[in-house]
Symmetry: C2
Subunit: 580 residues, 2 copies
């Protein structure tokens, strides 16, 4: 017999998410690894790493044996409609590590888009939260021919009265399986996740990521962080305690479930973000590290009970995702320990992180005001990633912090293709570079600043409202000729939708009629959600256009105050607790 | 035309050493990246990252165009016989990044073994230091049919008078090439290096590592470091300034050339280790991070001029590689800032790092004495690596810190095979695990402690003296019946060779005759080097043996003082400056 070598355990040792999960279980089996607090009842659920791992193992057993999910390249798709709790985190590992594909559904999308992603992904099983039962019931007729099984997840025992079926209950599934599982030694190119973009035009696009891609995304992101010389960014290593506020249904929870597990950082899960949950969990779990969008921060600094909590454990509270109003910033600097406003850039197609807030060692000595200026630049590319800003010629723009070009990217965690969409894939991948469509400039120190990102998106809280979705819907009203949407500044949400509408000649409808139309044709039919409804509506006789006849959003934004002054305020922005 | 995707820039983006080199050049082009101080002249050579990169690019051009080296899988082998200077570091990148294979020769091996590695590796080109010209001249006749070209490297201009040829001069090669080079987008499985073990029996064995392996070795090692909660180990990130004392001809310089480049840490190269070089470079370059073996440390604390230097920049001076005498330790704690004795375990076959000194977050609060006890355990496995200690059954030993088993390893940077040696490969790789042959125990916290490592090696300074090499040579003397070598403790070198010899009946030779034999048959013929000669020789009538008739080294070690008392001291240990 020929003596054999073992490339699968050496030169080709597979890079798998399984490795991340096993490390804390081995080194810290008896330490608390995962904490979830139910935001409504205030009840805590705590798991040591070995308890959590046992639950992941039982779930893995149930996937194949009870639910009949099949692995492969790609394996069957398993969807989640869930907030941030231990069960969602268990799915994050059990599904990919058995060789099947996790599809975390963004439950903030319109029902139409949710139905589209489920049927497009061909999800075999959907795991959903008790609080989302009404949503699943509304779409059930449209997905029941695709989805073969449903799993109900709740902190309360029992099953709901529902016509959805066949319906399984999460804890029963786990109870029926052995406490250990033999994880397969998968090929590292096995797809692990399927994520959908927030569509600016048309339907959300699907992107698959392999174990290798997510493994390398995680390692490089962690290294990039550990190299940051920002004096405000304390290096904590294994000792970090991380509260994951980013919804796990947003692209890989920005990597937190992978990074925290590998580094054995305790993960603190608040269900959905609430100010009291944030404060109480920080105090009881001694949270060191957290990320907030400005909206959450605004809610926090306004919270009357804030002073009653001990938040002194906080070392890094990254504020990202949108511009930070100056008043909010100075309040937060006084009130939130470890407050650290940062910037960054990423997208579904890049898993997501590509450019991060980073203070170079050569600049770390600068005074705070200068560092603050650098922190609000979009940042520097992560190690291991090629990022260029190119002009029309395809050549890099000069590093003058002035010339604008398109960001193009390539690297180990950039998506290979849009699922079932070779046309869109070909538009994005040209000449060996992934074209982001976002415009930026670069300075002499290599800092990238995005100048024109997603002009067609309104950023409300941590969610993106696709303008084109609203525009297309609004324009279907037979009394409306043209409609354009832009973001109006909002002290709490950052931005809220503002509709500028031109009626058909002779039409006598008013702003209330437009709202009524959006409610009946949009919200009631699942095309948009209630919180996408505009706060302001302006009926005008002429919408600014560019020379080629497109809506001139740039001009609208420059003259925004003037337009807003003439607009009608339709209703108060949504209540925060209902929204997050 | 079918729209194309770009897996080579996304899902299969290759993990290449090229990526490490490009990062500092991009972000810190004008900062000093590499500093070399000639240990004899005291002359400094400084290079910004962009100057250094230009030299690497020129060298890459010369490899293909002037020297005719061919890339492939594997590409041609290019050997170095060199100490730690910028040129060696240039070769570290230019050779692998052009798709050819770097073979750094351990110039401490015997000439026989050096000749063997060159012919076994089929080295096409040998780059060598001016100081090693006599060594190359001595082996020239034996390697000239293998090696096609030689390159002479010197800080002084001009070429030597020598019969070696064809001979090129390094700086001339660079001058003849353009300042930029188009690096190939290699397959990540392209071999990058070829390293040879220090043979315990027989000849050194060759091990190839691919770009992927070295890339993953580097990332995981850096992450493992950054997670360490040891309060004595200061996290410096990009700001570290690293003095590389480990010879670059020892397995990948323990990863320093890769880690430092990727993190843009300034690399300070002392040529070979000297106390004045260490002190002066630390002061002028503000070195923060350095590694020393106990021998270097002993030289340092005895250095009369030590107090004249400002060593306050030192934050991490890792002392590893051998047991640290207590007296030396307490002296060093007072005298060397950032003094941090650590342990660790690795071997040529594992690139080398596998188990490292690591304080878990759960133990970081312990008092210093307790932490010191943990630091001298061998350590914890690096993240991403599977390490087990197994009994004869193949099952893991209990974590009782008592039961002894063999260390077995697998992971992304473990070697796949011994070059041209399927037999040895099959002995090491069994049942999907690489068998190290080293014995260890494991405690409840998962700390591994090596109990019986390389009994057949004498550790003199940072070099290993293979006992079997000396034993086999000695036993060829016709007046000697049996010979066994063990290490005798030495205050400066840690250990020095001690020969215990049984003469053939009636022989009248004495200890001097044995030394004479070793000089003429060993040193003069290139089988061993001068510094391997024993410091002590004992002629005895009976050497302790085990039940199966092997030399009982364990018994000899237990009764070492008794044997040493009867032995004859042959000469003083070698002078330090000549040796390192």
């Amino acid at each position: 017999m020929e003596p054999r070598t073992y490339p699968e355990f050496s030169t080709h040792y597979p890079l798998l998410l399984t490795t991340f999960m096993k490390r804390p279980v081995r080194f810290y089996p008896q330490e608390t690894g995962v904490v979830y607090r139910n935001p409504d009842s205030g009840q805590y659920y705590r798991f040591t790493w070995s308890e959590w791992y046992e639950r992941v193992s039982r779930l893995a057993g149930a996937l194949g044996k009870t639910l009949g999910v099949k692995c492969g390249k790609p394996g069957d798709r398993v969807a989640t409609m869930a907030f941030n709790h231990h069960r969602h985190l268990e799915l994050y590992y059990a599904v990919p590590c058995t060789g099947t594909v996790l599809h975390p559904i963004n439950v903030r999308l319109s029902l139409d888009h949710i139905v589209h992603t489920i049927t497009h992904a061909e999800d075999k099983v959907v795991f959903f939260d008790d609080s989302l039962l009404p949503m699943v019931e509304r779409i059930y007729e449209k997905i029941k021919h695709t989805v073969e099984k449903f799993v109900y997840m709740s902190d309360a025992p029992g099953r709901p009265q529902t016509s959805i079926g066949p319906l399984y209950e999460y804890e029963e599934l786990l109870a029926g399986q052995p406490p250990s599982f033999a994880w397969p030694n998968l090929d590292e190119d096995t797809p692990a996740t399927l994520c959908y973009t927030t569509a600016t035009t048309g339907m959300p696009k699907g992107v698959m990521f392999t174990h290798r891609q997510l493994y390398l995304f995680t390692l490089h992101t962690m290294l990039g962080r550990s190299w940051n010389s920002d004096p405000a960014s304390v290096h904590l290593g294994e000792s970090a305690v991380s509260m994951i506020n980013t919804p796990l249904f947003h692209i890989h929870g920005w990597g937190a479930p992978y990074m925290c597990a590998f580094a054995a950082n305790k993960m603190v899960l608040p269900g959905r973000f609430t100010v009291e949950g944030f404060c109480e969990l920080t105090q009881t779990e001694k949270v060191t590290t957290s990320g907030l969008v400005p909206t959450m921060l605004a809610m926090l600094v306004e919270y009357e009970e804030l002073g009653k909590y001990d938040l002194s454990s906080l070392k890094n509270v990254s504020i990202g995702g949108a511009a930070l109003p100056l008043g909010l910033r100075s309040k937060a600097e006084r009130m939130i320990p470890g407050f650290n406003p940062i910037s960054g850039y990423g997208m579904t197609e890049t898993a997501p992180t590509t450019i991060v807030s980073f203070i170079k060692k050569s600049l770390a000595h600068l005074p705070k005001e200068k560092l603050d200026e650098i922190r609000v630049k979009t940042g520097l590319p992560l190690p291991g990633l090629e990022v260029e800003v190119v002009g029309e010629s395809g050549r890099s723009v000069p590093r003058d912090n002035e010339t604008i070009g398109e960001i193009v990217i390539r690297g180990p965690w950039v998506m290979e293709e849009y699922q079932k969409d070779p046309q869109k894939t070909a538009e994005a991948w040209r000449d060996g570079w992934f074209h982001t469509g976002d415009m930026a400039k670069v300075d002499a120190e290599n800092y990238v600043t995005i100048v024109d990102r997603m002009t067609d998106m309104i950023r409300s809280g941590s969610e993106m409202v696709p303008c084109v979705l609203l525009e297309n819907l609004t324009a279907t009203a037979d009394f409306i000729l043209e409609a354009v949407y832009v973001g109006a500044p909002d002290p709490k949400w950052g931005e809220r939708p503002f509709a500028i509408v031109k009626l058909v000649p002779g039409a006598e409808e008013d702003e209330e009629d437009i709202m009524k139309f959006l409610e009946t044709e949009g919200v009631a039919k699942g095309k948009i959600t209630k919180w996408m409804l505009p706060d302001y509506v302006l009926i005008t006789i002429e919408i600014p256009k560019t020379s080629v006849g497109k809506f001139d959003k740039r001009t609208i934004k420059v003259r925004l105050d003037e337009f807003l002054a003439k607009a009608r305020r339709m209703h108060e922005p949504p209540k925060s607790t209902k929204r997050r």
